[in-house]
Symmetry: C2
Subunit: 216 residues, 2 copies
């Protein structure tokens, strides 16, 4: 497949395509037109064609898309056709909740949860062991851990991220409410929950403001 520079906006839409196609596959749908996909996803058909053309198209004029093929190809692009060994740093509520999530069906395999509290030694979540931070380096090397999930207190995140980078971690999934500084070969994806809530309140306010103007 020819490789081009793909915009961030397209990449953001791919997981959603992948999710919808997965649901169709589960429902036994074999073929879909960009029109039908468009209706389901509430994205214009031309947007869908344009997005998928970034990756060589996959569609045949008049025949629509082969759902299984498209699903598999998008899966490859997203890298979810491979297994991604993962650890969670922080065994608090949030770490627990994430360990309980079934990310493994998309290839993200949580191998351990790390914490500093000795009271957690020997405990586990769904069979995923809670280990102490002094075992981190050995474990990451032995289990070829690729992704570290950061769910620890804000004031300990930067130092922990540095330590993970030195261990050879390739990717950080950061739930702490700050931006991390890492070398160029480490990727960071932030889930800033407060930012998301603020966007919600922005949209509540701006809806109310528009509505007020209409009433005047």
């Amino acid at each position: 497949m020819e490789e081009r520079q793909i915009s961030k906006a397209v990449i953001k839409r791919l997981p959603r395509y992948y999710r919808y196609l997965g649901e169709m596959l589960n429902n036994g749908v074999e073929r879909i037109s960009s029109g039908e996909l468009s209706t389901k996803m509430q994205v214009t058909a031309s947007q869908i064609r344009q997005d998928l053309n970034n990756f060589g198209g996959f569609g045949q004029q008049g025949y629509g898309y082969n759902v299984k093929f498209l699903y598999d190809e998008i899966g490859k692009i997203l890298g979810v056709d491979k297994k991604h060994p993962m650890i969670i740093i922080g065994g608090g509520n949030f770490g627990h909740a994430l360990a309980n999530y079934d990310f493994e069906k998309n290839g993200f395999i949580t191998k351990a949860i790390f914490d500093v509290r000795p009271s957690l030694v020997g405990t586990d979540v769904r069979g995923i062991p809670v280990l102490m931070m002094d075992e981190l380096e050995d474990f990451v090397a032995r289990e070829h851990i690729e992704i570290a999930v950061l769910t620890l207190p804000k004031d300990r995140v930067a130092e922990t991220a540095d330590r993970l980078v030195r261990c050879g971690i390739k990717a950080l999934w950061n739930f702490a409410h700050l931006d991390l500084k890492v070398p160029d070969d480490v990727v960071v994806e932030n889930v800033h929950l407060v930012d998301s809530l603020m966007q919600l309140s922005y949209r509540i306010s701006s809806y109310e403001n528009e509505h007020k103007k209409e009433e005047v």
Copy 2:
């Protein structure tokens, strides 16, 4: 203030400006140039000027920005100068984790957690009571609840969202891995964790592919 159509990309950056300005305020910084703000935030100075111009500027040529003023104004735009009463639907791990988060310092006040499990009656998280779903309608009306956080199983989300909309909820913060269909006057903000992980794995794969090409 003059109102214009503000792009989604700008709105997405505002919480980050707000966060950085809040940290500066805490550190006693009173005034900052767009150049300094740019260095701190790793956004170009012209981007910052352009973004803030959307809201009337706030800056004075050669004098930089008044941190407190800018912080407060962005807070108003984001709607975080007001209190937003909130409920969490789903008292599982994730609901628990969110109830423990200190969203209230930004005006998001969690008033209750709703669940269907009778074993949770009478329990609480940090004093936030767990209530049963049959109390939902009365509670939402009495407490003027604005935002509902959806952390319940995927197969019960659509029906619960409909019920919340009928109660008069204005905004849904959705953690379930599906897209909700709601009337135009209800805003939805999705936190699709799997989508975020897939973007991480996409970036790992595309980094590796580039790197491989360099090695050839």
